[in-house]
């Protein structure tokens, strides 16, 4: 346990040090990546640990972002907006789960995809309030968190890192708890877990709800840190990105979401600055991972020797 904890704290310390030395451009990028990594951590809890392959997480991200954005737009405080975003993500995920978890496998993927699509279309339909695809900027007055001005680089990175640190450590505690092992049991063999007395429906619902909560926080945080909220974050592409991050970093590893988000974000950024081929990069990465490295980087490392990797 201690070396696991040391590893995680070292990663967080490394990120903090990075914040002090990075040039401005990468500074902003890393803050973005940290928020996306929180989102990917949420996705990892559902997909990596519980085996729920969802194509609808963009709804939870979008719900959290929209709730926080509208709240701040109406003059609410940023701290409350974060909480509201978490609640929105939790609520959306619970509602989705109650219905979608009656199905499994491919049907679950399609049902979550359809719900997320309906949510996205609803945001467009109420474009007068949500700003539709163009979204709306958040007022500077609302972007103050505990005396920190989130439009400044330094505070923005600090807050992003703080949110990420909490998410990472909560994830670690969660997956090492009894409940976390129940989640893995559902992934590995649902029938056997049922026979041992665990209720698959409530367990998976709880996992999805927690996953939604993380996604909602990530959405709210992203909106607050970068001062912009829009329906484009609820598109199918934002359901696929966390899947990509988690697959790349390693599904069912605590640090996989961060690693995957960093590598993929920079890969796409580099690719789109060199050519116009960012879509193809995403596609090729998905194909490569599914074909040759279904366990991702950390999953493969764990298989090849570093067995204690959480």
């Amino acid at each position: 346990m201690t070396r696991v904890l040391v590893l995680h704290l070292a990663v967080l310390a490394g990120l903090a040090a990075l914040g002090a030395v990075l040039p401005a451009y990468h500074h902003g990028m890393m803050a973005r990546i940290l928020m996306l990594a929180v989102y990917a951590i949420g996705y990892n809890i559902a997909f990596g640990y519980t085996g729920l392959l969802s194509l609808g997480h963009a709804m939870f991200l979008g719900a959290g972002m929209m709730a926080a954005g509208l709240w701040v737009q109406q003059g609410g405080s940023a701290a409350a907006a974060l909480g509201l975003g978490a609640l929105a993500g939790l609520g959306a995920a619970t509602l989705t789960g109650v219905l979608a978890l009656r199905t499994a496998g491919v049907s679950f993927m399609i049902v979550t995809l359809m719900f997320a699509q309906a949510f996205y279309l609803t945001l467009l339909y109420f474009g007068a309030i949500t700003g539709g695809d163009e979204g709306f900027p958040l007022p500077a007055a609302g972007r103050q968190l505990m005396g920190l001005d989130l439009s400044q680089d330094g505070p923005r990175y600090a807050v992003a890192l703080a949110i990420f640190a909490v998410a990472l450590l909560v994830q670690l505690a969660l997956v090492r708890s009894r409940f976390g092992r129940t989640l893995v049991a559902m992934r590995e063999n649902e029938e056997r877990s049922r026979m041992l007395g665990y209720n698959p429906f409530t367990t998976k619902l709880a996992a999805l709800a927690i996953s939604g909560l993380f996604s909602g926080v990530a959405g709210a945080g992203y909106g607050l840190l970068f001062g912009y909220v829009g329906a484009s974050f609820a598109t199918i592409q934002y359901s696929i990105l966390p899947m990509l991050y988690v697959l790349l970093g390693g599904a069912g590893t605590t640090l996989g979401p961060l690693l995957g988000a960093v590598l993929m974000f920079y890969l796409i950024d580099t690719a789109s600055s060199l050519t116009e081929l960012s879509l193809a990069v995403i596609g090729a990465a998905l194909l490569f991972l599914v074909l040759f490295a279904p366990k991702g980087i950390l999953g493969t490392l764990r298989d090849r020797g570093i067995r204690w990797l959480p």
């Binding site: 199905t103 993927m109 399609i110 359809m114 719900f115 309906a118 279309l121 697959l247 995403i282 998905l286």
Partner: protein, 291 residues
């Protein structure tokens, strides 16, 4: 225009929609039925059919000839591409349902990017092979659109014949019902899978070639057909071709009529929610029988 003629116009538009939709959806339904995989790149095969139709029509100088050439060449090209994709990619994944979805998502990004890079972001028109206009008492109607309905019906009839009367169809149905036994009887299941995948993609391409003279070819045009095909296949019952046809007719007509009365976004919201709920509460589809 009075209510009656307006309804007639909506029904005509709905029928055209239903015909094209049925082609695309039967393609998706085939690969789902026989191979048990969901092909997310199906919309991209549709888009490729349309974009290639434009390219072929550019290469052939006369308009009717260009269209006919496209109608023959594009489905074959798209089918060949699908065959290669199945043999080179999906077979390596052993057609695992979830891995296949992830892979075809990746594929759809690559195909979109390919179309964008090679054909550019503009919508490209293809000229209809003839410009006959049927003058009804209330409004004129494009004869080409009626041709689309007839052509789609003929292709579907051919598919039905192949599936129920030919040896290839027998082999496909045998594979669908029991893959292991089919293999034991000497059927090359890998080839059946690749062939089914190619046939499904080819049907999407036929639908696309028929529709380009009405809508234009564009690299993002695969989204709506994919979503609608999904809806049709799910409502019709996963893997059941008859259900798919009935559902295509119902949904095509409903779409044609409803979109004249309600804002399209609202109609889409209800359609997607309805499909999700059908999958949750009636996974065998509305038209019942499991294949």
């Amino acid at each position: 225009m009075g209510t009656g003629p307006l309804l007639l116009l909506a029904t005509l538009e709905g029928t055209v929609m239903a015909a094209v939709l049925a082609l695309a959806a039967v393609g998706l339904s085939l690969s789902f039925g026989v191979m048990r995989v969901v092909n997310v790149a199906h919309g991209e095969f549709f888009m490729l059919g349309a974009v290639l139709a434009w390219a072929v029509a550019q290469a052939v100088p006369s308009a009717p000839l260009g269209f006919v050439a496209a109608l023959v060449i594009c489905p074959v090209l798209v089918g060949a591409l699908a065959y290669a994709i199945d043999a080179g990619l999906l077979r390596r994944l052993k057609h695992d349902p979830e891995a296949t979805i992830v892979a075809t998502i990746g594929l759809s990004y690559i195909l979109q990017q390919g179309a964008l890079s090679l054909f550019g972001p503009d919508a490209r028109p293809v000229e209809a092979p003839f410009t006959l206009r049927l003058q009804l008492p209330w409004f004129g109607y494009s004869g080409y659109k009626l041709f689309v309905v007839v052509a789609a019906a003929l292709v579907l009839l051919a598919v039905w014949w192949v599936m129920t009367r030919s040896r290839a169809g027998l082999v496909m149905r045998a594979t669908q019902i029991d893959r292991a036994t089919a293999r034991a009887f000497g059927i090359n299941v890998d080839r059946v899978y690749a062939g089914t995948f190619a046939l499904g993609a080819g049907l999407a391409a036929v639908a696309a070639v028929l529709i380009v003279p009405i809508q234009q070819a564009h690299y993002l045009m695969g989204h709506d057909p994919l979503l609608l095909s999904f809806i049709v296949v799910i409502i019709g019952g996963l893997g059941s071709i008859r259900g798919t046809l009935i559902a295509a007719l119902v949904i095509g007509l409903a779409d044609g009529i409803l979109s004249m009365l309600y804002p399209p976004t609202l109609a889409k919201i209800f359609a997607t929610l309805a499909v999700a709920l059908v999958l949750v509460f009636r996974p065998q589809g509305l038209f019942g029988a499991r294949p």
